[in-house]
């Protein structure tokens, strides 16, 4: 990793503030990011629509359960884009290997600090004895905030998908109006299910990328505090400045 190519201001932030940086990343790179996201996810969406035609909720569940897969692709994108090179989609898919994917899809699926732990596994690629002290050191610094991040993002998710439904409802002309909550929660009409699945894809796309980016920048912030990255960068500038002078 070349720290001097980083495209964000490095300074020790408070944990909440560092997560906001993740939100800024998504805002800045939303175009390449969502290109990759939809290129990867839409084929699965149509396959799911086709395979589980009669019980689309199964497709929704699988789609939700598979979040760790998308996380790895998104993190691969963010970690490269932050250092100035935006990867193509096949590179991102390659980022899936050797990242404890199986563990993440089973035991660690309900780990509440998922987004913060992911960079430790995926980017540091630690092996053997050095893993657990390293892991504990970083955890001690930010685990609490990472858990809050997960809790808040879960709420953002249902809030946004209900908002999309609500928006649809608000836009319907009066003669077609229906009982919003009855349709949303109880009815199994043909048109509601695919729309719900599509809204899930859209909302998970937005929230999951925010979530992964925020976890990633929380991780960067922990390392900035523990390893004084900001001082390293400033010292490099001093050294370069002196070299220029002599």
């Amino acid at each position: 990793m070349q720290l001097d190519r980083i495209e964000a201001v490095v300074r020790p932030r408070n944990p909440w503030e560092s997560m906001d940086l993740g939100f800024s990343m998504v805002r800045l790179w939303w175009k390449p990011l969502f290109k990759i996201w939809f290129a990867f996810v839409l084929p699965f969406f149509f396959i799911g629509l086709f395979l589980f035609e009669d019980n689309l909720w199964i497709a929704g569940l699988i789609f939700w359960w598979a979040k760790p897969i998308y996380d790895r692709i998104l993190l691969y994108f963010f970690s490269n884009a932050l250092f100035g090179e935006q990867p193509a989609i096949w590179h991102c898919v390659k980022g899936l290997f050797k990242t404890r994917l199986f563990l993440a899809l089973t035991f660690s699926r309900f780990d509440l600090a998922r987004s913060f732990n992911l960079p430790i596994w995926q980017l540091e690629k630690l092996q053997g004895k050095s893993v657990s002290p390293r892991y504990r050191l970083l955890q001690r610094h930010s685990r609490g905030t990472a858990i809050w991040l997960t809790i808040v993002c879960i709420h953002f998710e249902w809030l946004l998908s209900l908002s999309l439904f609500g928006l649809l409802y608000l836009m319907l002309p009066v003669p077609y109006s229906f009982d919003f909550f009855a349709v949303l929660f109880f009815e199994e009409t043909a048109w509601v299910e695919p729309i719900r699945l599509f809204f899930d894809v859209l909302v998970i796309g937005i929230v999951e990328s925010l979530y992964v980016a925020a976890g990633f920048s929380l991780y960067l912030n922990a390392r900035t505090h523990l390893e004084a990255w900001d001082i390293e960068l400033a010292f490099r500038r001093i050294a370069a400045h002196l070299q220029n002078r002599s």
């Binding site: 495209e7 964000a8 201001v9 408070n14 909440w16 503030e17 997560m19 906001d20 940086l21 939100f23 800024s24 990343m25 998504v26 805002r27 800045l28 809050w148 991040l149 808040v152 993002c153 709420h155 953002f156 809030l159 946004l160 209900l162 908002s163 999309l164 439904f165 609500g166 928006l167 409802y169 608000l170 937005i206 925010l210 925020a214 505090h225 523990l226 390893e227 004084a228 900001d230 001082i231 390293e232 400033a234 010292f235 490099r236 500038r237 001093i238 050294a239 400045h241 002196l242 070299q243 002078r245 002599s246």
Partner: protein, 226 residues
């Protein structure tokens, strides 16, 4: 460079940057405020329960008043922070960095109704994600921002790192001086190998490597603080 600050210029011509606060910390602050209001309503419910219909009317009026004016009053009279915001160490400011005034607080809080649409702050959340300064619609209309309260970490003058303070070989910019002071200040939280790594970067400045370089940097820092 990517950052979550908003540059402002004070009337004295000083450049400052506001550290704007994003959706996560604000959502938690909102939940805290909501919880506080709920507790007040429950207490009120017990107090008015003996009054019958009149009591219910009283409760409804107080719900109306609290829902609309709780954030406004706190933001105007408590330095831009409701109790929830205070707990999360954030506050509301005018875009220029001035404290929020009556009109600002009224506009941003009355427009909550729009932010609340279509369901539980859906519009507000989306606007905050899209906007550079994490403004929701109410903030856009009222020209306000929500910022982190400044944590001014004063450099402790009483802590001297070394007694003698040799003069710096060259004059450094303010930012570079700050880096050396930060180094000395944060040194005790860093492992020694890392300190040596860092000190070796500025060998051109200190003319030394390893532990003597760290020592020289402490002396520089000491000299800079005075």
């Amino acid at each position: 460079m990517l950052d979550t600050t908003r540059p402002i210029e004070t009337p004295e011509g000083i450049e400052l940057s506001l550290r704007v606060a994003g959706p996560i910390v604000r959502a938690i602050a909102w939940c805290l405020d909501f919880g506080i209001r709920m507790i007040i309503y429950i207490i009120l419910l017990f107090l008015v329960s003996s009054l019958g219909d009149f009591g219910i009317g009283l409760l409804l009026v107080s719900i109306f008043l609290l829902e609309w004016f709780y954030p406004i009053l706190f933001e105007v009279y408590r330095y831009g922070a409701t109790p929830g915001k205070r707990a999360m160490k954030i506050k509301v400011l005018h875009e220029s960095g001035a404290p929020v005034n009556w009109s600002g607080a009224m506009i941003r809080n009355l427009l909550r109704t729009i932010d609340f649409l279509p369901f539980f702050y859906g519009f507000g959340l989306v606007t905050m994600i899209i906007n550079k300064d994490f403004k929701r619609i109410g903030d856009l209309a009222a020209n306000t921002v929500v910022v982190y309260e400044e944590e001014i970490i004063p450099v402790k003058k009483d802590r001297a790192w070394m007694d003698e303070s040799p003069l710096m070989p060259i004059t450094l910019s303010l930012e570079e001086q700050q880096a050396i002071i930060n180094f000395a200040d944060r040194a005790q939280h860093l492992p020694e190998e890392r300190l040596i790594d860092l000190a070796n970067i500025v060998t051109p400045l200190t003319g030394k490597t390893g532990k003597p370089a760290i020592k020289t940097l402490y002396q520089f820092a000491n000299g800079l603080i005075g």
